[in-house]
């Protein structure tokens, strides 16, 4: 198992390298110079050129890319922001906690609504309850986050004065962003729970469990749900991954200093190096959550655990064979 985790952690490296290469390439071919934006419209062509030289923006593609990687490896630095003149990593780390708090709670909220709704819809399949639950879930997924954010802001903050309009000076400020980020994934969670439960409920062992005379509750919770969990965990993992990367729209509307907001401002100000750092950190979070999801599979399903363990063993036999040759 530990071998499996270590192997997976090593597999993260090519993914992160790939991320840097892709995003770096996209930004490299963008034609607006951040130097021009920093120096303003009055700056001469020479001043812009000098600034670009200072940042190394006029070097060839491979030199710039190589320098970026070298900085990460040798100094653990993601570079210095063109606009704020601060280390990118520090800027991200300052903002990450806000995003993580909101993301974690929002994903938890959506899971706590989505899974029970999905189970209910599956148990009461083709009844009014099923239709209502399914429709509610689809509706949750259909409301665009910016509309939801603005309407909440209007009703709860501007009209009723229950919550602050924006910012997170007190814990009250977190409520609306959490709801805004938590509503949309309900659709996916509920849908996946419903279809996975439906598939499981039709299995022979569920009929056996019922025939044994077990209580319906035991059948659903102990036999059906446990076996339906794998696809549900996949979706829950995706929900957490997406939420933890920050919701750009709700962070922008509620003016929350988080990863999404930094990303947004770095894009509008052509601060490519900050943008690259943000995407890299987000990709790392995504991959890390995927890894945790895969580990939870093993905890839930002994068959998968056996598989993971086998990989390690197979790897060992393979090595032995190679040594023999």
């Amino acid at each position: 198992m530990i071998r499996y985790i270590i192997r997976r952690l090593f597999l993260l490296i090519p993914i992160l390298i790939g991320t840097v290469v892709i995003v770096f390439t996209i930004n490299f071919f963008s034609d607006i110079s951040p130097a021009r934006l920093v120096l303003g419209p009055t700056a001469t062509e020479e001043q812009v050129e000098a600034k670009e030289d200072e940042w190394g923006l006029n070097d060839p593609y491979l030199v710039q890319l190589g320098r970026y990687f070298w900085r990460i490896v040798s100094q653990g630095s993601l570079g210095t922001s063109y606009i704020y003149n601060q280390p990118v990593l520090k800027m991200i780390m300052d903002r990450l906690p806000n995003t993580l708090i909101i993301g974690l709670l929002a994903a938890t909220l959506s899971v706590m609504i989505g899974i029970p709704l999905g189970i209910l819809a599956a148990i009461k399949q083709n009844t009014a309850l099923d239709y209502i639950a399914t429709f509610l879930a689809i509706l949750c997924g259909a409301i665009p986050p910016f509309v939801l954010c603005i309407l909440m802001q209007l009703v709860l903050a501007v009209r009723l004065h229950w919550l602050p309009v924006s910012g997170i000076r007190s814990w009250l400020g977190y409520i609306m962003p959490i709801i805004a980020c938590g509503v949309m994934p309900v659709a996916m969670t509920c849908r996946m729970t419903r279809s996975s439960m439906l598939e499981t409920i039709r299995q022979d062992y569920i009929r056996t469990a019922r025939a044994k005379g077990l209580k319906e509750g035991t059948v659903i919770w102990k036999h059906a749900l446990k076996n339906a969990l794998i696809p549900i965990i996949t979706v829950v993992g995706m929900t957490y991954a997406m939420s933890l990367c920050g919701s750009i729209i709700s962070e922008a509307i509620f003016n929350i200093p988080g990863l999404g907001n930094l990303m947004n401002s770095s894009i509008s100000q052509k601060d490519y190096i900050t943008n690259l750092g943000c995407v890299l950190v987000a990709a790392f979070i995504m991959s890390f959550v995927t890894l945790i999801t895969d580990l939870i599979y093993a905890a839930v399903d002994p068959r998968i655990k056996a598989q993971y363990a086998a990989t390690g063993k197979r790897a060992r036999t393979y090595k032995r064979k190679e040594a023999a040759v």
């Binding site: 993914i15 910016f146 997406m242």
Partner: protein
């Protein structure tokens, strides 16, 4: 053989009709009222998009500053915006923009994904390995962040937004195409085609892609909805489609500044996004149930 001839004779006379897989699917689909209603709504949206210019007496770009921010009335059913432009007309033209961009984006990603996924699934081995590892990298990139980065690099506008959204959603479709190709690859008709001496290109284009396309249709319906949401999100943030071209997201973005006194600019485009998303989702679900009836009952 005799029975087969008799059956064929009857079928020619029109006394019996064969029920194909497709007509069964259509029948199952028609039984799903929500899906049919969604289809009707989407057709309506397409009509609105096509005839956006002639449906209302106003021009989407005609400013009338003396009539700005008017509440809905008989003359302006949805009211007027901050430049006195008719909101109904702008929502209709916005429908055209949203549908156009999302169809372009989904088209781009589907075509590329079909080709790349087919190659990966059909050839297998090292080619498959390389393509799938690259796909893994794209899958690790958070969708919205990536779309924003590409959109910012390409610039705004209808085509660039379509390319940005299409490019960023290739990877998940590649995976799906590859999975269905892997199932197809070992079936008899592919082998038969090989036995006839068809080359790889012919097999992929004539046999593999058409057969992999059917399960993709559901995915395409769902993606169209998601893409419309993404377009409006990008446009709301000032990327994507920019004013003066009306788009639901950028209309709401303007409406945000007037939210405490003037709601129509948020409400009506918002309702259109919600209804469109609902329609595409219910349509996708209906199509999936019709194709794979095991799930339904």
């Amino acid at each position: 053989m005799k029975r087969w001839l008799e059956t064929r004779k009857l079928a020619r006379k029109g006394e019996i009709r064969s029920v194909g897989k497709f007509s069964l699917m259509v029948r199952r689909f028609c039984r799903n009222k929500a899906a049919v209603a969604s289809l009707v709504f989407i057709l309506l949206l397409i009509l609105i998009a096509v005839f956006a210019d002639v449906l209302t007496p106003y021009d989407y770009d005609a400013q009338n500053l003396s009539e700005k921010l008017r509440q809905p009335s008989a003359a302006h059913w949805f009211g007027t915006d901050d430049f006195g432009r008719d909101i109904l007309t702008r929502v209709f033209v916005g429908t055209r923009v949203s549908l156009l961009v999302s169809i372009l984006a989904v088209g781009i990603s589907t075509v590329f994904a079909l080709v790349i996924g087919s190659i990966a699934g059909y050839f297998g081995g090292a080619v498959d390995n390389v393509i799938m590892r690259i796909t893994d990298i794209f899958m690790a990139l958070p969708g919205m962040l990536f779309a924003m980065t590409v959109s910012a690099a390409l610039g705004t506008g209808i085509w660039n937004t379509a390319i940005a959204l299409g490019f960023t959603s290739i990877a998940p479709i590649v995976r799906q195409v590859r999975a269905s190709i892997l199932l197809l690859k070992d079936q008899e008709f592919i082998e038969a085609s090989k036995a006839f001496g068809s080359g790889n290109t012919v097999i992929i284009v004539r046999h593999v892609i058409p057969n992999a396309f059917a399960p993709l249709i559901v995915q395409i319906a769902l993606r169209l909805g998601d893409t419309i949401m993404a377009i409006s999100g990008l446009s709301f943030l000032g990327l994507g489609v920019q004013p003066p071209t009306p788009e639901w997201g950028n209309m709401v973005s303007v409406g945000k500044d007037y939210m405490s006194e003037f709601l129509p600019l948020i409400l009506f485009p918002g309702i259109f996004v919600i209804l469109t998303m609902l329609a595409f989702n219910l349509l996708g679900d209906g199509m999936r149930d019709a194709m794979d009836p095991r799930m339904k009952r």
